[in-house]
Amino acid sequence: MTGARRPARDVAVVAFAQTPHRRATEEVSEVEMLMPVLHAVLARTGLRTADIGFTCSGSSDYLAGRPFSFTLALDGVGAWPPIAESHVETDGAWAFHEAWIKLITGAADTALVYAWGKSSAGSPRDILTRQLDPYYLAPLWPDSVSLAALQARALIDAGVVDERGLAAVATRNRAAAVANPHAQLSGDVPRGDYVVRPLRTGDCPPVGDGAAALILAAGDRARELCERPAWIRGVDHRVEAHALGLRDLTDSPSTRLAAERAGAFDRPVDTAELHAPFSHQEIVLRRALRLGDDVLLNPSGGALAAHPLMAAGLIRIGEAATRVHRGRSDRALAHATSGPCLQQNLVAVVEGDLR
């Protein structure tokens, strides 16, 4: 089961929209945050809700602080008459995968994918401890920054990078974010104090709220809806063991395997949008994906510039596709992650038609 299989149907990302990402959005509900993004992405294609063949979303009840939180967000879609619809309780990148598969089966020709997260409603560092092993690990409340710091320390101890190298990653991402009107942090962001050694404020993602949506279309439908569709050449995702002691934290074999299965290594990519919430994770991913200096990395500024939980992975796919739409990339890789220290990883490869 190694090597990429070409999907049985040509499917493309034809439109993408996202909110400005902000530290807090107390004045709007989740539905109110989503509505403009959903309207924007539909307007870009001229489609209406009733024209969409399949809808899929990604979010987390724990961020909203209540069960079934996604049921209310559905109101923003305007699901009347009833729609074919599904939801994943994780980053919207996995909703994108589900929708892509649905289009490959031929059951639909278009799909709407959206995701959102109001990370500001609580303390993500505390909330994310609840996704750990509930019997042995979660009762100790090890927070997400501390776990990431363990991984950063492992990289430093292995001689892969030093603290200056980490700072360089953060600086480059936030410099790129200056050109991204949606970014929350950009430009000259100070390295700051240590949060958990060796990670400083500057190595960690901002806490913020945001939403994103994209539209998929198959075959000729994609050509009708978009001047230069971002054709999906492959998508794959893999998970690793949960217990950190069972993993080599300096490597990401699941990312490498997903990339292989998505066809990322078949030909070089010119652009990569990596979902690396911490500066050292970009280095782990870059090595796993064998990305050289000739690949444009995170032109959006990546997750260090804006990190709405549950939407940040989908945004990487949208950013990569938008580069293709605008003719600024011919073959781009997008990556999304979930779980502590890059436990679960998704890789998608998109391409534009030759010019």
Binding site: T71, E85, Q343
Partner: protein, 388 residues
């Protein structure tokens, strides 16, 4: 566009109970998955991808438990997709897994769903107030009782129909070794004498809170050929959603449910469900939902569902048996309940349902719903592969 035909070759369930204190969450899902693998005579290595579903994470207090469960699901190095579509999630889990096979992305996929309700209190977990929204006051029963009353008023059903369903399902459950509620010697009189909880819903007409899990192995044509037992073939599957609350919503017979069933019948070439479908595993958490969903799914004309119940047609020996396993009224690990309906439908067409087998069942419907009657998932399975 040609889809790969999808077959169910392995089915596993746990013993369902109010509190499974003998197992962790990981132990619970492994119990179901291990039985599905044994049924299919496959090993963990044969599974290429895992789709996992459950209802809100708050029910166990674990955020995105698929991450912690990766090892227990034999999923390390494989794709894991976590689905959550409220009460319909078990059904959606099977459909998402089936799509992976149909799209030829993976050959053999494990669909698994669970709920360990003893880790929390579902009644209050479902009662959190949401600003500017009608709260689900006093659990699901408080939300659904007014819609049952609306059905009774609209259809002119006698007030005793719900107790007929409850009695039938609890008696059926005695033939199902996995069922949670077992009440030997239960009489209709005892059901009718049970305390009123949310008028007109009595205690014996409500679903329990259960711990439990269910697992299915789905595979392609080649996998089905290698199956040691008869596979169940997917003939049609669909999901439909509509908003929770809006002017004009029909809570008695939501359009999303009707559209969902119609899509499945179109895929399977069914024109007269009452005659062409042999039995139904339906999501009935409160007894009155059997006559309501009989109408919603097209087995009875509007207002006539209760007549079908009263005639005895939906009994195990009737002409259209419903919830042969005892249904959600007898076992309700919420996140798994939909997948159990789908699994029981497949067991029937495989002829492996044991003491609650319907003789000669060739086409059986599995049904799930969730939220405020807004999410629906339905599949139809048969004993022969699809012809188109």
């Amino acid at each position: 566009m040609s889809k790969e035909p999808v077959a169910v070759v392995g089915i596993g369930q746990t013993r369902h109970a109010a509190a499974r204190q003998d197992v962790s969450i990981a132990g619970l899902v492994r119990e179901a998955a291990g039985r599905a693998l044994a049924d299919a005579e496959l090993t963990w290595a044969d599974v290429e991808a895992v789709v996992i579903g459950k209802a809100p994470d708050f029910f166990e207090g674990v955020m995105m438990p698929e991450l912690y469960l990766a090892e227990a699901l034999g999923a390390v190095g494989k794709p894991v997709t976590r689905v959550h579509t409220a009460g319909s999630v078990g059904g959606s889990t099977a459909l998402v897994a089936a799509d992976l096979v149909a799209a030829r992305a993976h050959r053999t996929v494990l669909a698994v769903a669970f709920e360990k309700q003893s880790e929390s209190n579902a009644m209050w977990g479902l009662s959190l107030p949401v600003p500017f929204q009608q709260p689900l006051l006093a659990g699901a029963g408080g939300f659904f009782a007014p819609h049952v009353r609306a059905y009774i008023r609209r259809s002119g059903a006698p007030p005793t129909v719900g107790t007929l369903v409850a009695h039938k399902d609890r008696v059926n459950a005695l033939r199902n070794p996995f069922a949670h509620i077992r009440e030997p010697g239960l009489t209709l009189e005892r059901v009718r004498a049970s305390p009123m909880l949310w008028d007109p819903i009595r205690y014996s007409e409500t679903c329990p809170s259960s711990d439990g899990a269910c697992a299915l192995l789905l595979t392609d044509r080649l996998g089905a050929r290698r199956s040691p037992r008869r596979p169940a073939w997917l003939l049609g599957g669909a999901m439909r959603s509509e908003p929770t609350l809006f002017a004009g919503k029909d809570f008695v017979s939501p359009r999303a449910g009707r559209d969902c069933a119609a899509d499945v019948y179109r895929q399977a070439g069914i024109t007269d469900p009452r005659r062409e479908i042999d039995a139904v595993e339906m999501y009935v958490p409160f007894s009155w939902y059997e006559p309501m969903w009989l109408e919603n799914l097209g087995f009875a004309d509007p207002g006539d569902g209760w007549r079908l119940v009263e005639s005895g047609a939906t009994a195990l020996e009737g002409e259209l048996p419903v919830d042969m396993s005892g249904g959600v009224l007898s076992s309700n690990p919420i996140g798994a309940s939909g997948l159990i309906r789908f699994a029981e439908a497949a067991l029937q067409v495989r002829g492996l349902a044991g003491a609650h087998q319907v003789d000669g069942a060739r086409r059986v419907l599995g049904h799930a719903y969730g939220g405020g009657s807004q999410f629906f998932a339905v599949w139809l399975v048969g004993d022969r592969p699809p012809t188109s």
